[in-house]
Amino acid sequence: MASTPNAVSRVRAAMRLPTGARVAVAMSGGVDSSTVAALLHEADYEVIGLTARLYDVDAAEAEGARKAGTCCAPQDARDARHVAGQLGIRHYAIDERATFAATVVAPFLAAWQAGATPNPCVECNRHLKFDRLVREAHALGAAALATGHYARLEPDHDGHIALRRADDAAKDQSYFLWTLPADAAAFLRFPLGAWTKPEVRQHAERLGVPVAAKADSMDVCFVGASTAAQWVAKHGGAPAGAIVALDGTRLGRHDNLAAFTIGQRRGLPIPTDGPAAAARYVVAKHADGTVVVGPLDALRVGRIDLAGCRWLGPVPAPGAKLSVQVRHRGRPVDVVLDGVDARVATAQVTVLGDLQAVAAGQSAVLFCGDRVVGGGIVKDSQRAHACAPAEAPSPMLARSPWRAGHG
């Protein structure tokens, strides 16, 4: 186990601030952000804990959320306050329910209803962590806002603050962070970017962090123990519609568009013989409720159109060779940037490698090596025309792209 002086010097190096500086920490009540607060306190910063209260839960949902170990439920706010109390640092819970409802929950519902696949963790980072908590930290006179994200945020040789993948590849959360604005990049710190999860747990125990043994958060917090399909059905519902083959042949019907994910194979309410036998994967969803199924090959993507693009440094030139990641823990795939229009924040990439099951609404994050160059929301994707047989989709495809981990 790393010695205490080593931990202190690592933390100070990540903070790039003199000791005694006032630092806000976004505390979710989980082990990562709690440990960040404890480490910063140990490293002699003036630490202020901030917890955003994001949503109300009824008793049943609270139980589900507790079991699912999601973040930012009332119990987690209490955990954060408890941790802060044990450390002897100031802690404030901030009412951000209205912001969260408007910027995360409502777009999440609208996207599923429109046949898209949203990533609420990306939006929560964009609106809550990079905006509301940054504002709060500024108002409190803090010199920086630290979070428990696993990603690295460091000045590059060119003076830009570069966002890079975490050293612990298994925990890397850089995918969720592509909306980071430049001013927030200069203000935020991710002290755990160079730490492994086992190290974090060791130091949590060493520092007596009360939540050291708490399970990692998974799943979308406000959905709790239900699936997205169940949650959407309960909160206004998604269109019913037809299930059709690529050629338009009608194969069946469904009553909840949100129950289907691009790449899904199991649980389709269509006959397993006849014309449907070869068409076993969801390959497209439409706002009118139509679900299109097709063969595995139809899932392969050759080109992606991005909207709402953000660039974390200079806008790359067309022709740039980059890699794209379209889901958390997804494998990066080589792409060429075809076009960029910074004015309307769009971009197009041609996929060079094998990439399957890209849904509208997902975040597509562009990397150069381990550095996040930028990203956008998938607006559309076109099928690859290559004749090579596609590999079977990874087990991840059976699950929703947002389902593993959060940010």
Binding site: R22, I48, T51, A52, R53, P74, A77, R90, Y92, A93, I94, D95, R97, R135, E136, H138, A139, L140, G141
Partner: protein, 381 residues
Amino acid sequence: MRAPLVYLDHNAAAPLLPAVRAALSEALDAGLGNPSSVHWAGQRARAAVERAREQVAAAIGARPEEIVFTSGATEANALAWHGVAADAAVLTSRVEHPSVMALARRRRESGCVVRWAGADTHGAPVAPQSLDAQGPVAFLSVIAANNELGVLTDLAAWRALAAAWGARLHIDATQALGRVQVDVRAWGAATAAFSAAKVGGPAGTGALYVRTGVPLEPLIIGHQEGGRRGGSENVLGMVGFGAACAHAADRLAAAASVRQLRDRLWAGLRAAVPGCDRNGAAPPVVETGQTLNVSFADVDGSRLQRALDVEGVCVATGAACASGTVEPSHVLLALPGVGADVARRARSAIRLSLGLETTPAEVERAVEVIALVVKRMRAQG
């Protein structure tokens, strides 16, 4: 080394008085037993409790047997509502403490008539006319001094209304004790609620005054407190409350100097911070003199509270926000005459409350820090 805290939240909890600390220390050393025990240790405890009862009674113009010790003013309010007038139609006001607002909501949910008196522009609840077409109710519950504004209620009007209706009058006097002369008999109260923590006693102790002859059904069954509040006595709390009440006169004597400091605080803020408005209780209205409720234009009150705390200045917002959910103060929202501005004013309000221990240096520091922080927050937009 950080500067010492500037504590401007005396309406939430006043610092423990040195005399209370001494009385508690003496009681701790005395090896007191259970006041119900017949042995010497029990008898000493009984003597301490009854001495405390006398001290509390003397401070409010009551007889000792009219004092029922409770866990605080919230329990005292609940005991009055349930014990005197369970299931009765009630009249209360829109500017009560949250503990009474919650009782009123519960009463309404259980199907009883709950009528609401509004507030005047200072935030004082206005007793309706006795010939009110809606007719009399059996139980009136009103605050004596508002916790958020410090404004004092015209209790004579409420007494007259209770007399005209033949109703029982409950007075939540939590913020009045130690600020103004309390005389429950002159107030015409059937019951009145008090808290130790507001007068330099230990938190978790309060009392309900119950006028002789007013029947009281207990919330907690037991022989203690004359069968009106069961459970072994909180001897230390009672001793501390008694000691604090014994010094209530000192607190009253200092009220004028506290008022001067409060006025200096307001004058300092007005000079140093553009765009600040005082809420309710504006002179020449009668008020406790230790509270200042101010809204700062374009500043979120709860965020300002946090930012001030980080700089070592403790203040309150309009309402409790312990769980991180902040609703604008119902008291400020009840103020008439602020018009469409009222919600904005309520959201940008903080409450500064001073006390016996407040120093001129604290007031100067508070003005300095508030000016700095408000300027910083406005610059950030």
